[in-house]
Symmetry: D2
């Protein structure tokens, strides 16, 4: 049994509350707002640590050869992804606090920080890497590594070399079993081919039929996304895309509840990351205008480009282009419905 625990010690507040040393103390009068600048960045880094704690646990579960549907594993994954989105929301909101610092107040200590810069948050970059952002998709690749220490670049490179969450998602989607054979798909008469399970032949026909005149080009896109070898800059295979679309279409069946929530959770994370970049961008613009950031970049341009390129889950987001109305959906055969349901109802 542990000794009596005291709040102050448990939280190591002696360390935490004595880790703020103002560079501007060297001036006649320390810049009041430098404390804010330090503390807000420290809270950001603490939350980044928490985000890593969550994503690491999620990666660990996803790395298992196969998730057990009857265990709470997938539920845990969804729960923690949702928590990440809640944290990111607070981080976005937290920019409100930094915006109470006026440009003049920032100037009071800005020059003293060179070349320190928010671009040096290796934790944030590592988070992007673990989720699935690849080095080759980053904006201004050299610039980004030049700002970090070797040991932190190494951490990020290592993460880029491992299976990212996005890749693990691809594997998990590919393992979805319902299309491994045509067994049970009795109501779909088409022959089964390697790439074209009868369900998908049917669905493709209905999708094409649903397109407005000006959308006809989407038919070719459908073919490309769901039936062709995907170019290497895509993470998801055609098979994984089909599984994801199936989940969106038939989310009402018990076995697809959690998978659907997982898809939603990653889109929510991407949206919050995007909101974070967008607000950060606006704030930097308001704070330094066209001047050069402490890290040497022309702040706003870098951030704008990064904001546009760094969507991690865009391959999921794009699948909404391929939905059709619920009332036009193919009805699943009874045998498949049983597989998608709970045990005790089978009798």
């Amino acid at each position: 049994m542990n000794e009596a625990v005291h709040y102050h010690d448990y939280l190591q507040l002696d360390k935490i509350l004595n880790a703020q040393q103002l560079e501007s103390r060297s001036l006649n009068e320390a810049a009041h707002d430098e404390m804010l600048f330090i503390i807000i960045h420290q809270t950001y880094e603490l939350w980044f640590k928490q985000l890593h704690h969550e994503v690491d646990s999620v990666l660990q579960i996803m790395r298992k050869p196969s998730l057990n549907d009857n265990s709470p594993e997938l539920q845990t994954v969804v729960h923690r992804l949702n928590r990440m989105a809640v944290i990111l929301r607070v981080l976005v909101h937290q920019i409100d606090i930094l915006e109470t610092m006026t440009p003049m107040d920032f100037l009071d200590f800005r020059d003293l920080l060179r070349p320190a810069s928010g671009f040096q948050s290796w934790q944030f970059k590592l988070l992007e890497a673990k989720l699935g952002l690849k080095f080759e998709h980053r904006h201004a690749q050299e610039y980004y590594t030049s700002q970090l220490r070797h040991e932190h670049v190494d951490l990020i490179k290592k993460a880029e070399g491992e299976q990212s969450f996005l890749q693990l998602m691809n594997g998990w989607l590919e393992r979805m079993p319902f299309f491994d054979s045509t067994q049970g798909w009795t109501t779909f008469s088409n022959a089964y081919t390697e790439n074209e399970h009868p369900f998908w032949t049917e669905y493709k026909a209905r999708y094409k039929h649903s397109l407005a005149e000006a959308e006809k080009h989407n038919a070719a896109l459908f073919e490309e996304v769901f039936f062709q070898q995907r170019p290497s800059h895509y993470t998801f295979s055609a098979k994984a895309n089909r599984a994801a679309l199936f989940i969106m279409l038939y989310r009402g069946y018990p076995m697809l509840h959690q998978p659907f929530q997982l898809l939603n959770a990653v889109l929510e994370i991407d949206e919050q990351l995007s909101a974070w970049r967008h607000r950060h961008l606006n704030m930097v613009h308001r704070m330094i205008g066209t001047r050069i950031g402490t890290g040497g970049s022309t702040g706003k341009d870098y951030l704008q480009a990064a904001a546009d390129k760094h969507y991690i889950f865009k391959e999921i987001a794009q699948l909404t282009s391929f939905l059709i109305e619920r009332r036009k959906l193919p009805q699943l055969p009874k045998a498949i419905e049983v597989q998608l349901g709970f045990a005790r109802n089978e009798s």
Copy 2:
């Protein structure tokens, strides 16, 4: 004296609560989420009406030949601009509600709405026009008018023809009196010329001195923004820009408190408008992917372009590029300080 007022009548709830007619009622089963779609847009339009109520009152005050500094007028302007920002914040947050509608749920009634479209909110476009967005700066100009009724296009054209808030701000800034002569500016020895009051000659020198090597090009920009005839696509004159910069630099003096708050308020409005466009954009992307919006546009591209172009107060935002550190600011002469202060302290 009025008769006893009843909440239900006062709010005209019989009208308000009976103004939702679902297009999908024609289907076998009305689409559940169409009600949400209608109600959220109605609340947006109600808030747009309120935003017009505020901006109209602000325009009315700003149109007076000269604001009386000793009246509450400027305070009222700032208060109402701040309120507009608070309203816009809620409108941004409100998108959370629409995001509870999944793409499949939207598909249930989406086709029935063609060609109705969110682009047809004339109130929002009118608001942009009143604030200062000019027709020639709008993205996709023809498209934008093709979606509106004649009477609403006329309203917007009329607003575009009148003095916008941005133009009235320019006039108000130009009227700032402190640089009309060199009287009182005893400590600044330079000769006074039409465009170069000795204060500004001094400030320019200090600004140039403050620039880092990589920022040297900002010196020419300074010249352009504060001393040259501004090209016609700018709203603010060099004189107005100088006044705005002066307010930012010396906001500590009582007479500049409210003007500084006004500058902050419009930047906050722009940021919220930007956040609104950004979230709207993300939501449309999540909802319809690459398909065509009900209004016929390829939703996301239009919105992205608009979001990038429609910053209304960017000329104010850019002025932060020209600040210098507070400890390097020229000290104002006593006579000017008196003019910037309260009456009773003069004795």
Copy 3:
């Protein structure tokens, strides 16, 4: 097929945007902030209508003799309850806007509104009734009816007479099948009695063992909540309470995912309702101090009492008192685990 739909008509904006008539127009100069007062209340009422749309659909599903676990019905219920919580969050945030009205600004038209009052929102009271707030639990019962029209009181009384969401939840929980017999509960040796299924005898023992000295009185409470006839002012039966606790304890099993989310959703709704009442209370206090509200009540006291009494789902909230650590939980027998899982894994 419908005719071409236009945004302005579809949203009936001619009605919506012409439903604001200021009482203060009778004064020399209309009170500027009365428009805000009207519009914010109209948006509240529009959202209340949407909340009714959601709760009505939820009640309709819950009223079915038995929810089909393999249909999307429960998922739909959870989704719509979650949406209600998202809406309530925005309504809470929206009070920020009303707080931009200062007490002096409110005084400009306050007297003209008597006796209209926010207490006259029958939609809000009806919502509380549908969820499960009983008349006899309301604070200041007579006052509350005296403020409403007969037809609206009738609507509320009617809802109070029907099965509320809370009562339907009770029925749904009571129907949870796993404890109907001891079949399958092979590892629990105790004899089965009417009220004490061997699982519960076991759990009770473990719970009692987990209590700290100062918590021993909770043992009696446990007995009362889960095994005795509940007094009539409780909605949930002992049987329903057991089912709810079981869901909380074993939420990891697929069949309990959605039920657990349902429990969370109603707690979230209660929390948002509570936040709404709390902020409303603070705002009224800030606005009118100890003076009398337009409806004749001493605003703050009424609201404080209502805020303390009107928790609707408190019987659910209290169940957290009866949890034990996950590592001390009884292991469920294999036969029961199978019943709680998906079909295809049984083989």
Copy 4:
């Protein structure tokens, strides 16, 4: 000049990111959510440090014998109080993150923390003390000290012994000069007495006249608040109350802009503190029900009582009871108006 600064060192991230040691590491498997529990509390404490940084700077300014109206001092006070409110808003929002921890997840490590407890945040209590909460107004006084270390109790006692922000506000209000004599108050004919300046005699008459029948008791209250020796449990003197009311009534005059914003800022701080306590209360209730908190208290009851008693600025909030309509306000004499305005307009 400082050496090149690196983000990682500047923020002392080696300290910050290595200050999380889980008590549950002693179990077979560390409780996943303990990390969240530690990190969220650390971010709270970092923000509390920032709040102290702000309040200390504000106290330092307020302690000067007299604020110079023509310096930026009061503006700085208002700005920093507003920042405190923005920070508190984020802290309230941040509870969302803690709420993603379910009661079962908390149970996994709750027992290991005894007797550590959130009540042991001496920084929060010290903040309350600096703002103005007196020991004798605290709920459960002995309990509160028993939970803290001697050195931290001493810090709080010391702060309680010094002039709090509330007391400094009282002094600042009392120094408001306009009622020191009747000079200039030419249009008010009443004789001047120690306690009853002619303006106040006039205002009192108008206030009494404005009261509805059921509010007549407010007349006596008015007398008590503005003209009598205040009992010792009040911080504000009658003179200070009069000054605060005058600011609210005539906030339109330039010299009262900032004072009015100061009054609003402290009410906003109180509201956010109240929201924080309220949400904290709800969360504890949802988390542990009626069981005993890790600190040994029956969590919810303690928090409820504290939430009800710990309003710091309630004496300001109550003044809204004594406002009258703007159109019924006494017109100030010209000489007083001049004193309330800017210098250059006097000529």
